[in-house]
Amino acid sequence: MYDVIIIGGGVSGAAAARELSRYQVKACVLEKEEDVCCGTSKANSAIVHAGYDAATGSLMAKLNVQGNEMMEQLSKDLDFPFQRRGSLVICLSEEDMPELQALYDRGVANGVKGLQILNREEVLEMEPNVVDQVYAALYAPTAGIVCPFHLNIALAENAYANGVDFRFNTEVLDIKKMEEGYELITNRGIYHTRYVVNAAGVYADRFHNMVSEHKIHITPRRGDYCLLDKSAGTHVSRTIFSLPTKKGKGVLVTPTVHGNLLVGPTAIDIEDKEGTNTTKEGMDQVITKAGQNVKNLPMRQVITSFAGLRAHEDGHEFIIEEVEDAKGFIDCAGIESPGLTSCPAIGVMVADLLKEKMGLVKKENFIATRKGILDPDTLSKEERKALIKENPAYGNIICRCEMVTEGEIIDAIRRPLGARSLDGVKRRTRAGMGRCQSGFCSPRTMEILARECGMSMFDITKSGGKSQIVVGTNKDVL
């Protein structure tokens, strides 16, 4: 019997687990995929929003501003990349100024610090690649960019280090209210728990509706993106948003913490909660809209495109509360943008809720920090030489595009909640994320995975499940 089971190992679930692990509690995260960060958390804009978007007084607005404020310290504690680059919302004509002003006013009301409306010249001085016809922009210096994979993985690893269990490939099929707590029926057996945290992303409505008469409804809202090569990574230095107008919503153009350029997303409501396929229409939209605010975008430098699903609840608000007619069942639902930004605050809010209900007591030996995978690029030449001498695996480049060494890949596999698939290695080390998109390194990474995990090459997958990379040997069916 667990005290708390968290359904979902995305940023919300992992943040909740990490905050909860400050207390003396027996907790477990159930994740249907083979790794954390496999749903909404892995495919989004990777933006830490300033907080002027959400309606004043909403939970979204509150947690956005809080999360933004927490992100910097958290990135230091848990060693993940975060850069406070600032953002601009581009206004293209004088007639749209009221909308820009409204955004500014809302931001101020939400408690966003440092907002400024810049004129054309100021914008172009800051970002010379913004289109010439820019009229003005809302500048938010507190906005930033983050690596969502590393944020998610860091939270999970730290929760694990503080005693939270993680069960992967474990899909909750049904939830039953018991005399005490809940029974979770999964594809891998039955779990009992006193409390449930429903952090299931696009599936959160399904679990909520299993225990409550007050139904909620989540629409997977697909966002298509294009990722550009690092050669385009400095095209803009801040996140460039489009001002939503009567003519519609544009796409953003942003640098990423790893030096690429990201363009997107679309917003297409779909039915399929697994519908992460890009479509031609979506891609065309991204490409068409990309140039509205930023000029000369080198769209020929696209190295990959992908789509993510936002968990859009009908009420367009975070639902973080105990379900009224299901005591002990805590929703953490409708976590769409600014969910990534808010996740540190979401974690605290969920933990506070449970602390109060369960009367949790703090641990004395809580480990507040975590070291990420060592990136030799951050070392001086001398340090790097010493590192290779100590561990020659750091002298062996496996991914030539991102210059990832065998040492980093071994670290990614051996550390707690380590990588077990090519995508797992990729999210942790960037091996395979570069311009050749794993063409060169995947056979090499497979060998390392097989060796380190004692797996056969036939068991190695791209991302768990049936995503095997090789299916047989030469001539085996002849």
């Binding site: 396929n277 891609m283 992908f306 997958t461």
Partner: protein, 421 residues
């Protein structure tokens, strides 16, 4: 810090031939840096035959062709380091490299020959919509898995792109027991050699669908199938022509890109058409003493021409090292590719530095039948060679001689073009 006269980046066909040629031109201090565990580069996985007709007057497989050069490198006692990645090179030719044994180390070179080869374009670069399951490989990745490691990436295969690697892999996969259902090519012509269509597709009854592309990818975990559609003249899919092929494997053979991150980092100027360095008659880049050859310079279809080009780079690098042998760079003649000719290598010629003969290589932008390859020395047409057919998949060349050029002392521009009959 170690010093070498010539450091060659890459131990594939280009690097090997450049090394042998530089050594034979009298330079002893040569080092080849190779990132893989053996010399030979991509030839090690190209186990099919068809290499070496020009160079050795016989048909060899890739590994055999490579071994001929590796033997020479060994016999000539040319130094090389394996499993060694070059991290960067400065404009002053300070090479930083890394391997397990020596860690991070620096080498000062007098001359550098860039011979890093190329990489394959990936799915991402094509923006093919759909899911992103396992089962989608570049043809070269599949080639490595099958030929070097003995693993089958899948059972039922669709190939997008009719570049030579794609065609070769259609046959390889078939002979290892897979079913290759179709090869789809976006363009109205194949990107590969004609003989590969005959011996890799026709021999095995594999259909080639020209003007077709993949418009959807099905399968969340492992690939379950792809949808092909015909495309119009602009390459846009024609609605209503979609056809679904169930398959567990999609191989991409959609183009090669010279691998010039290191070159760019050191300040080498690039030709946007080839994605390779701009070079002069000596295959020298804008940085003095930095030469380029093989697929890093421009993508070749025949390794024989890579070897030939690399030998020239090696010889020129040797001349550069022995400074005295090199004449002053006088005025340059500019090569101007127009009307069907996409680029030329080299891009400029300095007559007093060129050899008696100079091969100018280029590719065309479309299929031209019964045409002429022409070169105009300023206004005067000097070369006018009849060709039955020229196509983008096959590299073309014209030969210039010093004798020819000396007859035109005021020559400024050589325009290379395709002319209709």
């Amino acid at each position: 810090m170690k010093q070498y006269d010539i450091v060659i980046i890459g131990g594939g066909p280009a690097g090997l031939a450049a090394a042998v040629s530089a050594k034979n031109s009298g330079i002893d201090s040569i080092l080849i840096l190779e990132r893989d565990k053996e010399l030979g580069g991509i030839l090690n996985q190209c186990i099919h035959n068809g290499f070496g007709l020009h160079t050795f007057q016989e048909e060899l497989t890739g590994p055999e062709y490579a071994s001929r050069f590796i033997e020479q490198v060994e016999d000539l006692k040319i130094e090389y380091k394996l499993n060694t990645m070059v991290m960067d090179i400065t404009e002053d030719k300070l090479v930083t490299a890394m391997n397990r044994e020596e860690g991070l180390f620096e080498i000062q070179a007098k001359a550098v020959i860039l011979a890093m080869g190329c990489r394959e374009r990936s799915r991402g670069a094509l923006n093919i919509p759909g899911y992103r399951p396992a089962g989608i490989y570049s043809a070269g990745t599949a080639q490595r898995l099958v030929n070097m490691e003995g693993f089958m990436p899948g059972r039922e295969v669709v190939i997008l792109g009719s570049g030579d690697i794609g065609l070769i892999m259609a046959r390889r996969m078939t002979l290892e027991g897979a079913k290759v259902k179709v090869v789809s090519e976006l363009m109205p012509y194949s990107g590969g050699l004609k003989r590969n269509i005959v011996q890799c597709l026709d021999d095995y009854g594999i259909p080639l669908k020209l003007s077709h592309t993949v418009v959807d990818i099905k399968g969340k975990e492992r690939l379950e199938g792809v949808t092909l559609a015909e495309v119009d003249q602009k390459g846009k899919p024609i609605s209503g022509t979609e056809e679904f092929y169930s398959c567990d494997t999609l191989l991409l053979s959609v183009g090669l890109i010279p691998e010039n991150e290191i070159s760019g980092g050191m300040g080498v100027e690039m030709n946007p058409v080839t994605s390779g360095p701009k070079v002069n008659e000596s295959l020298e880049t804008n940085i003095e003493g930095v030469f380029a050859c093989g697929n890093v310079l421009h993508v070749h279809d025949l390794v024989d021409f890579v070897s030939e080009e690399a030998a020239s780079a090696g010889k020129n690098a040797a001349a550069y090292v022995r400074e005295g042998d090199r004449l002053e760079n006088e005025k340059e003649i500019v090569l101007n590719p127009v009307e069907g000719v996409r680029y030329t290598v080299p891009g400029t010629i300095c007559v007093n530095r060129m050899d008696e003969k100079l091969t100018v290589r280029f590719r065309v932008g479309g299929v031209f039948k019964n045409c002429y390859v022409s070169a105009y020395f300023d206004e005067e047409r000097v070369i006018h060679r009849k060709r039955q057919v020229v196509a983008p998949g096959e590299m073309e060349q014209i030969q210039l001689t010093k004798e020819m050029l000396l007859k035109y002392p005021d020559l400024k521009t050589i325009t290379v073009k395709i002319e209709e009959a």
